[in-house]
């Protein structure tokens, strides 16, 4: 079966990454996720949430 060893070694010293055996792209995956988490929320979401009560 496939080996657990990543083909891409981590860079010499990932800054603050913490996950020593993750390949480069693993950080990228978290960045993609975090970048969306940190986006300002479009108003449409707050509008929807505000309206939830009236639907119940």
């Amino acid at each position: 079966m496939t080996s657990k060893t990543p083909k891409i070694p981590p860079p010499g010293s990932p800054a603050g990454g913490g996950k020593h055996k993750d390949p480069d792209w693993a950080n990228g995956l978290k960045q993609l996720y975090d970048s969306v988490v940190e986006e300002p929320l479009p108003d449409s979401f707050q509008d929807l949430i505000d309206k939830l009560d009236s639907k119940s």
Partner: protein
């Protein structure tokens, strides 16, 4: 009417918690379906379903995990209706690329995201949950309604596939638009939706 009907204060708590997880729902949805507008539609659908099902939420448990289950199921349903074609949102990836990355050589996140979208959905969601969302294998298994070993296997295979694609620079341009690939994905979705995705993982 039911004895479990939420009080006003419980509803307020629920609503607050629901609001707090919206950014995470958006991130998970974006990773799953690749397009910001469709991802946000999916999140809105999830919020409405979560609100309607709030009596089934156990206060004190993870709202993020609970809503991810709802979002995931909505995604699977929509995907089977062929609504998402794995379109790729270039602007997000490009913006991330230019952000301070804390690493010397920014990898091409656009490549990474495109590669991610070529994975079978069950592996993609497993990797997103564990590798990006920070869920434990156990939590991810609960969300995906499968065994912990299955999640570990899916994450391992997803990682191996991404390693191979990104190391070789061999990323299918649009495998999701390819009919055969898309059919294969839909077949896998049938398994996933039936809770049997484990057999091949």
């Amino acid at each position: 009417m039911a004895a479990e009907k939420r009080t006003a204060s419980e509803k307020a708590d629920f609503k607050r918690e629901l609001t707090e997880v919206v950014p995470h729902l958006r991130a998970f949805a974006r990773g799953l379906c690749g397009r910001a507008d469709m991802a946000d539609d999916l999140v809105q659908e999830t919020l409405l379903k979560a609100w309607a099902a709030q009596d089934r939420f156990q206060p004190g448990t993870s709202m993020r995990a609970w809503t991810f289950v709802i979002l995931r199921n909505a995604y699977l349903t929509d995907m089977r209706r062929n609504r998402f074609r794995g379109e790729y949102d270039e602007t997000v990836a490009e913006r991330v690329l230019t952000a301070p990355a804390g690493q010397e050589e920014p990898i091409h996140l656009s490549d990474m995201h495109r590669a991610l979208l070529t994975l079978p959905p069950e592996r993609r969601e497993a990797l997103l949950l564990v590798g990006a969302g920070g869920f434990s294998y156990e939590e991810a298994a609960t969300i995906c309604d499968c065994a912990v070993g299955t999640i570990k296997s899916r994450v391992g295979r997803a990682r191996a596939a991404l390693n191979a694609m990104l190391a070789d620079g061999n990323i299918p341009k649009r495998s999701i638009d390819d009919d055969a690939a898309h059919r294969a994905i839909l077949e896998e979705l049938d398994d996933v939706a039936a809770g049997q995705g484990s057999s091949r993982s």
